[in-house]
């Protein structure tokens, strides 16, 4: 169990985002401590992805603030988020299908030679190293990622987040497109990263994964936060009730 006494790693305070009059996120506050996994739950369209995209820099908040280590953080674009060591694994994986694994892993942060040219060999070497750790069966280093299986693509996306020493990791349904074995691999990875002291926001639909992987769960409905609970103190029925009915569990 994570130590939740100091300043939270991330605090998103009173965040609101609207699109053309529709309040996608309505005054939501969530926080995340080092070494814990906070599940973000809710129906499709509840506002989870929108909320989290404010943290990853893909969207701008209309109001509210983000604090990292208790300090106010300005995150206006994905580059800003990376400066705060926030890495995101998107549901769509956000891979350029026509490029190989190394180019995707280092996209936007290419390693260069002293002459300023992209150092493909060095990047491939680094990719081979991290893949040996994450997915030892990975072999297709030279193929464009569209030639890879769902699990292999997922491991490229995960490698990209892990390689750059993320402190805050956002995972948007990381196991949605995976088989049982690969899902198990992701679960083990999450445990491992947690032990290293990372904070992880996990957007997840599968209630079993939530019960298994998350320390706390924040439930959203129609853009509003229903509540945040310690997963160890509630049943899956309670959480489902929050998701479906939008009601806090009693007791």
């Amino acid at each position: 169990m994570a130590d939740r006494t100091g300043a939270p790693l991330v605090e998103m305070r009173d965040v609101s985002v609207s699109f053309g009059g529709i309040k996608a996120v309505d005054h939501v506050t969530v926080d995340l401590y080092p070494g814990e996994v906070v599940g973000l739950l809710g129906h499709n369209g509840a506002g989870k992805s929108t909320l989290i995209k404010c943290l990853s820099g893909a969207y701008r908040m209309d109001s509210g603030e983000i604090l990292i280590d208790g300090q106010k953080a300005e995150i206006g674009n994905p580059r800003d988020a990376r400066k705060y060591n926030i890495e995101t694994i998107y549901q769509t994986l956000a891979l350029a299908d026509n490029l190989d694994a190394a180019s995707n892993l280092f996209l936007g942060r290419e390693l260069v030679t002293p002459t300023g040219l992209v150092d493909d060999a060095q990047m491939e070497a680094e990719t081979r190293k991290i893949m040996a750790r994450l997915n030892p069966n990975f072999r297709k280093f030279q193929d464009p990622v569209k030639a890879l299986s769902g699990g292999q693509r997922q491991s490229v996306a995960i490698a990209r987040a892990v390689y750059f020493n993320a402190r805050i990791l956002i995972m948007d349904e990381p196991t949605a497109a995976l088989g049982p074995q690969e899902t198990q691999m992701v679960a083990e990875l999450i445990e491992q990263l947690k032990a290293q002291g990372l904070g992880i926001f996990l957007i997840e639909h599968d209630i079993h994964n939530v019960m298994k992987l998350c320390d706390r769960a924040s439930v959203m409905k129609n853009g509003k936060l229903v509540g945040t609970v310690n997963v160890g103190e509630v049943t899956d029925e309670d959480i489902l009730g929050m998701i479906i009915l939008g009601k806090q569990p009693h007791g």
Partner: protein
């Protein structure tokens, strides 16, 4: 870039081409080009593959080929530029006015050595600014590139007309004219030196790539395959030089040159043309653009944006600014192409570059650039331009009627893309 990696080592080697790590699509294009050449050579009783005709083919291709390399970037980022022919005309008009009216008006006499460089700088700036402006409208104001460049086609074609009042402007500066083709060549000795240097550079590149892979303990090609690659590159480069050197300057031209220097030509004196400066320019553009595409961040971002714009954005790439850069590069290349085209004519004419946008897009597409974005190569586009030009001049030599020439080119364009689509479906590389 993408293709080069597709043919990588991982898939398991099946045949000799895979061992050599050749891009099969490149092989297909080279095959098509050779076929076109042989067919026309037979139809013209051997007149097609003479040094003279090959020389002419290369200088006729340069202008469109230069622009086609830029069009690859434009199309790879899922845009299109229909204004390149018109932009070429505006740049050409600016350069022509600068060297024949503006600079002489400032007291620089005809023949002054700084006229050509100044005119070229004006042209390049014009191209870069107009290109960047169009890119800004596409990237930041989010007007589709098709519309922006369609408007640009009308605007710049007629800006050129307005600037020159529709008049032909010439003759252009003598130094400037050497960039057109036959008026400025390296000569036999210079061409051989260039050929040998180019071969050495190619060998060094092959050796370095191997060394880098070995130092990282990646799988490498067998040594004999590297040897074959080196031999092939030497044959291609030196063979090209030999052909251009074999095109001899007509003796009356030589005699006139001697007389101009107050000498008489020795009996039996001959000289070959060698590589035209315009072709050197194309080679330089091809090398620079290839390095940009494969070895720079800019190139990586261009291909990433073409493959998945959203992913590129989420990776922190400023795709709007990237669009501006891509169109600015396209504008600069239009200016270079305008320089070559007007220098070759020795004057600026009001219809210069008309319909070039279609030739340029066709060259890029025949060269394997996918309109869906993310895929394309510089050498493919140049080869595409060469195939188009070969078809056109070949048919003219055979005496095919003008309407049929265009009909054939149109059909070939569609067929080339169809074959590409079928090829990609079969290899699962769609």
């Amino acid at each position: 870039m993408a293709e080069a990696k597709t043919s990588g080592a991982s898939a398991g080697r099946r045949n000799i081409f895979q061992t050599l790590e050749f891009d099969t699509r490149l092989l297909g294009m080279v095959g098509a080009f050779i076929l076109v050449c042989i067919v026309f050579n037979v139809l013209t009783d051997g007149r097609f593959l003479t040094p003279r005709n090959i020389f002419n083919l290369t200088i006729q291709t340069v202008s469109v080929a230069i622009m086609a390399t830029g069009m690859v970037f434009v199309i790879v980022t899922r845009n299109i530029d229909l204004s390149v022919g018109a932009l070429l005309a505006t740049c050409s008009a600016m350069m022509a006015i600068t060297q024949t009216q503006l600079l002489p008006g400032l007291g620089l006499d005809y023949g002054n050595p700084v006229i050509a460089p100044l005119a070229i700088i004006v042209g390049l700036l014009t191209g870069a600014l107009i290109g960047a402006f169009q890119g800004w409208i596409v990237g930041y104001l989010t007007v589709p590139a098709f519309i922006v460049s369609l408007g640009g086609l009308l605007v710049w074609r007629n800006v050129a007309w307005y600037l020159t009042s529709g008049q032909t402007i010439g003759p252009l500066d003598d130094t400037f004219q050497t960039l057109g083709g036959i008026g400025g060549t390296l000569g036999v000795t210079g061409s051989w030196i260039f050929g040998v240097l180019a071969t050495l550079v190619a060998w060094a590149a092959i050796a370095n790539a191997r060394k880098a892979r070995i130092s990282h303990e990646f799988p490498v090609k067998p040594l004999w395959a590297e040897g074959v690659l080196m031999a092939l590159s030497a044959v291609a480069i030196l063979g090209f030089v030999a052909i251009l050197n074999a095109y001899e300057v007509p003796s009356r031209v030589l005699r006139r040159a001697f007389e101009a220097r107050g000498e008489t030509m020795p009996e039996g004196f001959t000289a070959g043309y060698g590589i035209p400066y315009s072709v050197l320019l194309l080679i330089a553009v091809a090398v620079v653009m290839t390095v940009v595409a494969r070895r720079t961040r800019l190139g990586r971002y261009i291909f990433a944006t073409g493959g998945n714009p959203e992913a590129a954005e989420l990776s922190g790439i400023n795709t709007r600014l990237l669009t501006v850069k891509v169109f600015a590069v396209m504008g600069v290349l239009c200016a270079l192409a305008g320089m070559v085209a007007s220098a070759r004519l020795s004057f600026h004419s009001n219809d210069i570059g008309t319909l070039d946008e279609l030739r340029v897009i066709a060259a890029a597409v025949i060269g394997g650039t996918a309109l869906a974005g993310g895929i394309g190569t510089i050498y493919g586009a140049i080869l595409g331009a060469l195939i188009m030009q070969s078809l056109q001049s070949g048919m003219a030599m055979v005496g095919v009627d003008a309407p049929f020439q265009n009909i054939v080119v149109g059909v070939v364009l569609v067929l080339a893309v169809l074959i590409d689509i079928l090829y990609r479906k079969r290899t699962g590389d769609a």
